[in-house]
C-alpha cells in the first residue's frame, strides 16, 4: 500500500535545497547591508541614514519577536515596549556607569540631582560587562516567562491577554517615570560618553594600530568590528559602525532562530495553538508551556533589540514603554505580513523609514499618514505586504508565463488532486 505514497518522502530534498537558497539569500543581503549600503549612503550625502537604518534594523529584531508570538501563535501582545525598554535600560546603565576615575562624584550625574548619595544596590552588578550582556537578554526573558506563566496558566487569552499586556505597560511606564533617583524619570538614561570594555577591550586593542594604518575609509569601517578598542568614544564613527554591524548580525541570528522555531513541528504546533487551542490540549500537548516559552523567547528578542537601539540612539526613556510604541510594533508586523518572518523585518524597516520621511516632510500631519497606512493595510492587504506579494503577483506571473494554467472548468477539476490521481490510475 505504501509504494505509491512513499516517494513523497523524497520531497525532503527540494526542502533542503530551498533552505540552502534561503541561507545564501540571507547571507548575501546581510553582507550587502553591512559592506555596501553604508558607503553608498555616505557617498549620497545621506550619512545620517546609516544610523537610522541601524536603528530600524534593531527594531526589526523586536518585530520578529512580535511575529513569533502574534503572527504564529496568535497572541497579540501590546506590552513588548516594556521588554524592549528593559534591554535598553540594562545597557544604558552599563554605559552610564563608565565614569572617569578622576571624577569627583562616582555616580551617574542625574543621581546627584535627586540627592542619591550611593548607587542603588540593584544597579551595582551593571559595572560588569558580561553581567550586562546577560541582563539584556535574561531580564526581559524572565519577566516575559513569569508574566506569560501567570497569564497563560489561568487560560487568559484573546483580547484579555492584550488588555493585560497593555495594563502592564502602564504600570512599568509609571514606575520608571516616577523613580527619578533610580531611572532619571521622564528623561531616561542618555548622554552616554564612552564604552570601556576594560579587560574585555584590551586584548582586542592590540590589533587596532595595524588596521588603523590602512586608512581606506570604507574598508576601515568594514574591519572595525574586529578591533573593538578600549576607552572608545561611543559616538565615534567606528563604534557606531560596530553597533550597526552587530545589529545586522543579531538580526540575522534572530531570523535564523525564528526560522528554526517556526519551520519544524514546533512551528506547526504554534500555528495549531493559534487555530484551535483546546484541540491541541486534547491531543496531549500542554499549550501553556509552549506559549510561555514562545513569549519568553519573544521577550528576549525584544531585550536585545532594545539594547542595540539604545546604543545607536544614545537614549532610553520611559517613552519606549509608552502604549503607542508597543502598538507601533504590532503595526510593523501587520504591514509586513503576519506569520511571515521576512514580512516582519520588511515591515519594521519600511514603516519606520516612511515615518521618518513623512515626519521630515509633513512635520504637522505625518501621524495622519501613519494611521492611514495602517487602515489601508487592514482593509486592503489583510495579509500584509508579503502575504499580498505571495498570493497576487506571483500567481499572476506564473499564469502569464504558463506555469499554472488558468483553469476554466468549475470546480477546478484540473486542480483537484483526487481527480488527478484517479486520472493517473486510469492511464497507467
Amino acid at each position: 500500500m505504501g509504494d505509491e505514497v512513499l516517494p513523497k518522502s523524497r520531497g525532503m530534498k527540494p526542502q533542503q535545497k530551498r533552505l540552502l537558497i534561503e541561507i545564501a539569500v540571507v547571507t548575501a543581503i546581510a553582507l550587502i547591508v553591512i559592506l555596501f549600503v553604508p558607503p553608498m549612503l555616505v557617498d549620497l550625502g545621506q550619512a545620517s541614514r546609516v544610523n537610522q537604518l541601524g536603528r530600524f534594523l534593531a527594531l526589526a529584531i523586536v518585530a520578529l519577536g512580535i511575529d513569533l508570538i502574534w503572527g504564529y501563535t496568535g497572541l497579540l501582545s501590546l506590552g513588548h515596549g516594556i521588554l524592549f525598554a528593559l534591554g535598553g535600560y540594562a545597557i544604558g546603565m552599563y554605559l552610564k556607569l563608565q565614569i572617569p576615575p578622576n571624577a569627583s562624584i562616582q555616580l551617574p550625574e542625574f543621581m546627584s540631582l535627586y540627592d542619591v548619595k550611593e548607587l542603588p544596590g540593584f544597579w551595582k552588578p551593571f559595572y560588569s560587562f558580561p553581567f550586562t550582556l546577560a541582563a539584556v537578554v535574561l531580564l526581559p526573558t524572565l519577566l516575559g516567562g513569569l508574566l506569560g506563566y501567570l497569564v497563560f496558566r489561568n487560560r487568559i487569552k484573546g483580547v484579555y491577554f492584550s488588555i493585560l499586556t497593555q495594563a502592564a505597560t502602564i504600570v512599568f511606564f509609571n514606575f520608571f517615570n516616577g523613580q527619578q533617583g533610580f531611572f532619571n524619570g521622564t528623561n531616561g538614561l542618555t548622554d552616554f560618553k564612552t564604552i570601556n570594555l576594560g579587560r574585555w577591550g584590551t586584548c582586542i586593542q592590540s590589533f587596532y594600530p595595524s588596521i588603523k594604518s590602512w586608512n581606506i575609509n570604507s574598508w576601515r569601517l568594514v574591519v572595525a568590528p574586529v578591533c573593538w578598542i578600549s576607552k572608545e568614544d561611543i559616538n565615534s564613527e567606528q563604534t557606531q559602525f560596530i553597533f550597526y554591524t552587530l545589529t545586522v548580525l543579531f538580526l540575522v541570528a534572530a531570523y535564523a532562530l525564528c526560522r528554526w522555531l517556526t519551520s519544524g513541528r514546533f512551528g506547526r504546533l504554534l500555528v495549531a495553538i493559534r487555530d484551535d487551542e483546546p484541540r491541541v490540549r486534547f491531543s496531549g500537548y500542554n499549550p501553556t508551556t509552549f506559549k510561555v516559552v514562545v513569549f519568553a523567547i519573544s521577550a528576549g528578542l525584544a531585550g536585545i533589540a532594545g539594547a542595540l537601539y539604545t546604543v545607536q540612539t544614545g537614549l532610553i526613556s520611559p517613552k519606549a514603554m509608552d502604549i503607542a510604541f508597543s502598538i507601533e510594533m504590532v503595526i510593523w508586523v501587520a504591514v509586513g505580513g503576519r506569520a511571515s518572518l521576512s514580512g516582519a523585518v520588511l515591515g519594521a524597516v519600511l514603516v519606520n523609514f516612511a515615518k521618518s520621511f513623512l515626519s521630515e516632510q509633513f512635520a504637522a500631519t505625518w501621524l495622519f499618514f501613519q494611521g492611514g497606512l495602517f487602515l489601508l493595510v487592514v482593509l486592503v492587504l489583510p495579509d500584509g505586504l508579503v502575504g499580498w506579494l505571495r498570493s497576487q503577483p506571483i500567481q499572476q506571473i506564473k499564469t502569464f508565463i504558463g506555469i499554472r494554467p488558468q483553469v476554466a472548468t468549475y470546480p477546478r477539476i484540473e486542480e483537484d488532486p483526487e481527480i488527478q490521481r484517479e486520472r493517473e490510475n486510469l492511464e497507467s
Binding site: K8, V271, A272, D275, D276, R281, F282, G284, F290
Partner: protein, 266 residues
C-alpha cells in the same frame, strides 16, 4: 481498512470484563444546575458503546468530565482504574483518551499530513517537539493513517480546503494517531450525507476492533448501524442501558424522546 492493525502498534485489548472507564456518583453542577446527576456508568475494555439522549441530557458534559474539561463537583471518574481528578486535559489525553468534538476541529492552516504528524508525535513536551526529528516509522504511520481515513490524495492541501466529511474523517484519524485506548466521539455524523455517514460508520467499526469507543449520537439510523450496547442519558443520569432493540422499545425512552404524553393524559 484491512491495513489498520499496523497503524496501531500499541493496541492493548486486554481481558474482557476489565473496565476502561467508570464513573461513580458523578455530579457536575454549574451554578446549582446539575448537568450530570449522580451518574454511574461503566464500560468494558474493547467495547463500542453508544450514548444517546435528548437535548440537554448532559451527553457533552459527560465527555467533558471524562476528558477533564470540567471537574466533577462530586464523585469521580476512573480511567483504567485510575482516578483522573486534578489532572489537566493534556495529561488525561496522554493517559490514552482521545476526543473528537461535535464540529470537526482540525488545524485548518496545516495539511492533513501535518495534522496527523502533530497528533502522533510520541514526545509532546517542548524538547521532544523541538528537537526530535520524525523518523521513518513515524512517517510510515502517518501515511497509513492517511490511507485509513482516505485522505492520501489530499495529504498536502491545507485542511481548510477539505469538505466537512473529510474533516470529520481527518479528526478521527488524529484521534487514532494519538494511540489512545479509549476514543470519545461526539456526534460524528452530524451534517453528513448518507454516503459519508456510512463511511464514518465503517471507519468506527474498523477502529472498534482495537479500541474501546464511546460514541454520542442523535442519528438513530447511524446508531442502528454501529450500536452493540446503548446507554440512554436523561437529565444527567442513566435512564436505561441495553441492546438497540431493547432500548428502542423501552417505554421510558419513548417517553423522554416524545414527551410525557401519558402523564398529561392521566
Amino acid at each position: 481498512m484491512d491495513n489498520f492493525e499496523d497503524t496501531k502498534p500499541v493496541a492493548t485489548v486486554s481481558t474482557i470484563g476489565e473496565k476502561i472507564v467508570e464513573t461513580e456518583n458523578l455530579t457536575v453542577s454549574f451554578d446549582g444546575f446539575k448537568a450530570l446527576n449522580h451518574l454511574d456508568f461503566s464500560m468494558d475494555v474493547g467495547e463500542l458503546r453508544v450514548v444517546i439522549g435528548p437535548n440537554g441530557a448532559g451527553k457533552t458534559t459527560f465527555l467533558d468530565a471524562i476528558t477533564g474539561k470540567v471537574q466533577p463537583t462530586e464523585g469521580q471518574v476512573r480511567f483504567k482504574g485510575r482516578n483522573t481528578k486534578r489532572l489537566a486535559e493534556h495529561q488525561i489525553a496522554r493517559l490514552g483518551i482521545g476526543r473528537k468534538f461535535q464540529t470537526p476541529r482540525v488545524f485548518l492552516n496545516l495539511t492533513p499530513r501535518e495534522n496527523l504528524e502533530l497528533a502522533c508525535n510520541p514526545k509532546k513536551n517542548i524538547v521532544g517537539t523541538l528537537f526530535r526529528r520524525s523518523n521513518s516509522s513515524d512517517r510510515r504511520r502517518v501515511i497509513s493513517l492517511l490511507e485509513t481515513v482516505g485522505l492520501t490524495a489530499k495529504a498536502d492541501l491545507p485542511a481548510a480546503l477539505l469538505s466537512h466529511g473529510e474533516k470529520q474523517r481527518l479528526e478521527i484519524g488524529m484521534l487514532v494517531a494519538q494511540s489512545p485506548d479509549l476514543l470519545l466521539v461526539d456526534e460524528p455524523v452530524a451534517g453528513l450525507t448518507d454516503e459519508e455517514t456510512q463511511n464514518v460508520g465503517d471507519l468506527l467499526l474498523a477502529l472498534a476492533e482495537s479500541h474501546s469507543i464511546l460514541v454520542i449520537e442523535h442519528d438513530m439510523e447511524f446508531v442502528r448501524q454501529i450500536a452493540r450496547k446503548v446507554t440512554v442519558l436523561h437529565e444527567g443520569t442513566v435512564l436505561c442501558e441495553g441492546d438497540f432493540e431493547e432500548v428502542q422499545t423501552d417505554p421510558r425512552v419513548i417517553e423522554v424522546y416524545l414527551g410525557k404524553q401519558e402523564e398529561t393524559e392521566a
